[in-house]
């Protein structure tokens, strides 16, 4: 126990040893210096003249956004429907692709360790690239439109659903699996009757959760030309029609709230 002595020779309790205390100071010093260094790099690349009137710019922006031009909402129903389709169809396709990948990536169901590492590679590369970047790539390949958005969402969802699902598969109870294989079931039958019923609730929960995230992401895919309400957002921003932008923001806010509510309800019912 770290103890130090007063000048009278009485023992005093300390939380840390002197060495640990010094190491902690040094760690804090290093962390703070790193932060300040990063801050300096950022501040060097910033035009502080623009920052000084940020408050004025902000209030100016808000005054342009208010009141929202409500008539504009009539134009937005079709893009909103496209956005919902991008999110939903993208989730469906992504989930369908993630399902086999997760089984290949789970330690207890993979046919071979080599296959497992390939599946993990697929999951990681899909996860680390944002759907907006996927959309940028796909717009150059497929051309602008809803299709690029759907595929971008699907590609991004593979990694997310795949990762959570394979973790769920690895955590299943082994007893039902053993029981089914003891009856002489084939590999596919063991999967179907031993593994699948155990991961189905998790799978449904993860899919709905991802659908909720995808609604959020699909609202901005239009910024790079991949369809949906983001196209209108981009057009309104480029034409400086901020009163239209605020209508779009309100619609996005409402949609996201509703989708979050639905997803919470469904997950609550399943789990």
């Amino acid at each position: 126990m770290p103890v130090s002595f007063t000048s009278q020779g009485l023992p005093v309790w300390r939380r840390r040893t002197t060495r640990a205390q010094w190491l902690q100071y040094l760690a804090w010093l290093a962390g703070v210096s790193l932060f300040l260094l990063c801050w300096k790099l950022i501040s060097d690349n910033t035009m502080w003249v623009f920052v000084e009137d940020a408050g004025r710019q902000g209030s100016d922006l808000i005054s342009r956004m208010m009141p929202p031009r409500w008539e504009y909402a009539n134009v937005l129903w079709k893009p909103m429907w496209d956005t919902l389709n991008i999110a939903t169809l993208g989730t469906v396709i992504g989930v369908m692709m993630a399902f086999p990948v997760a089984f290949l990536a789970a330690r207890n169901t993979t046919p071979h360790p080599l296959v497992r590492s390939v599946a993990l590679m697929v999951i990681v590369s899909s996860r680390s690239i944002n759907s907006l970047i996927w959309a940028m790539l796909l717009v150059t390949i497929l051309g602008p439109g809803v299709l690029a958005g759907i595929i971008a969402i699907a590609l991004r969802s593979i990694g997310f659903v795949g990762k959570l699902l394979y973790e769920a598969i690895e955590e299943i109870h082994p007893t039902p699996v053993e029981a089914i294989s003891a009856t002489g079931a084939s590999r596919m039958q063991v999967m179907n009757y031993g593994v699948l019923p155990q991961v189905m609730p998790a799978f449904a929960g993860i899919s709905v959760y991802r659908w909720d995230i995808n609604i959020r992401e699909s609202t901005v895919l239009g910024l790079v030309g991949a369809g949906g309400i983001g196209l209108q957002l981009n057009a309104s921003i480029n034409s400086l029609a901020w009163d239209q932008v605020s209508v779009i923001f309100i619609m996005i806010f409402a949609t996201v709230l509703v989708s979050e509510w639905i997803s919470a309800r469904v997950r609550h019912a399943i789990i």
Binding site: L41, A54, F253
Partner: protein, 277 residues
């Protein structure tokens, strides 16, 4: 209850006759069929409204091949300076925004925990969290670029703002289900509010707070790669430029760097989380 009994009996009788069927996922048949029909109708409507320009897709497939080829031979060299500058900006943005965001998220998180804060403060803090979580980083970035001008400062503020919502929500949930006995013990000694937070709440949530901060660092890096598209600095701007100039080999190099850094972050963050929890 009665119907469930007869259903179970009917299933047993069928099983004795050697017929066995898997239990349906949704028990209520009306709801089950309603959902199935609804899904089919929706799929039909949705697919009908997707317009695909197949001529354009066919034209683009050559580009897809080019792009895959570029991944085989990524070009790190010819735009080396731009890549390094973008990467440095992304990394500094990531670090500063996480630090600032977490520091600001702690008071908001304390305020949003129903068991330690009064109702008005709770509602205000929950509203902050809702606003920050609903909008995508990129939408917030558009607004902040208008306010603060192009460059990494706007990006940093965006990421810090998004971090507040994420961290404060999870922190508040963590505080809401902490072990109340420790708080009572500390309160029994006559401690004030700050002392209760410091001695009873903070030790319980600290491991998770550290784990979440490291996780958020990882997310912030990923996000910093996209907010450059709207002018908020970082590697995203470099990537966007290279894509629109059809320099696919440079884009491939940037994407590979992003994947590598994310992998590194993820690996070390899982390490840190295992260490703190």
């Amino acid at each position: 209850m009665n119907t469930a009994d007869t259903l179970a009996e009917r299933r047993q009788q069928a099983a004795r006759r050697g017929q066995w069927r898997r239990l349906a996922v949704i028990e209520n048949p009306r709801l089950r069929w309603g959902l199935a029909i609804g899904a089919v109708v929706y799929l039909f409507l949705a697919l009908a409204s997707v317009e695909v320009n197949w001529a354009r897709v066919a034209e683009g497939s050559a580009r897809a091949v080019n792009f895959l080829g570029a991944f085989m031979q990524p070009d790190f060299i010819s735009r080396y300076d731009d890549i390094v500058a973008g990467l440095m900006e992304s990394l500094t943005m990531t670090l500063t925004s996480t630090v600032v965001g977490v520091l600001l998220a702690i008071p908001v998180g304390l305020g949003a925990a129903r068991n330690i804060s009064p109702l008005p403060i709770y509602l205000i803090c929950r509203a902050i969290i809702a606003v920050s979580r609903t909008f995508q980083e990129i939408i917030i970035a558009i607004l902040f670029v208008v306010m603060f001008g192009f460059g990494p400062l706007a990006g940093m503020i965006t990421l810090a703002f998004a971090t507040i919502g994420f961290m404060a929500k999870l922190l508040a949930e963590d505080i809401e289900d902490l072990d109340w006995r420790q708080v009572e013990a500390v309160r029994a000694t006559g401690a004030g509010w700050l002392q209760i937070i410091n001695q009873a709440v903070q030790p319980q949530v600290m491991p998770r707070l550290i784990g979440l901060s490291v996780y958020r660092l990882d997310i912030n890096f990923r996000e910093s790669a996209v907010i450059g598209i709207v002018g908020a600095g970082g590697i995203g701007a470099t990537l966007n430029t290279s894509l629109s100039r059809y320099e696919y080999d440079t884009s491939a190099a940037i994407l590979l760097i992003i994947i590598a850094i994310v992998l590194l972050c993820e690996y070390s963050s899982s390490h840190v989380r295992r260490w703190t929890q």
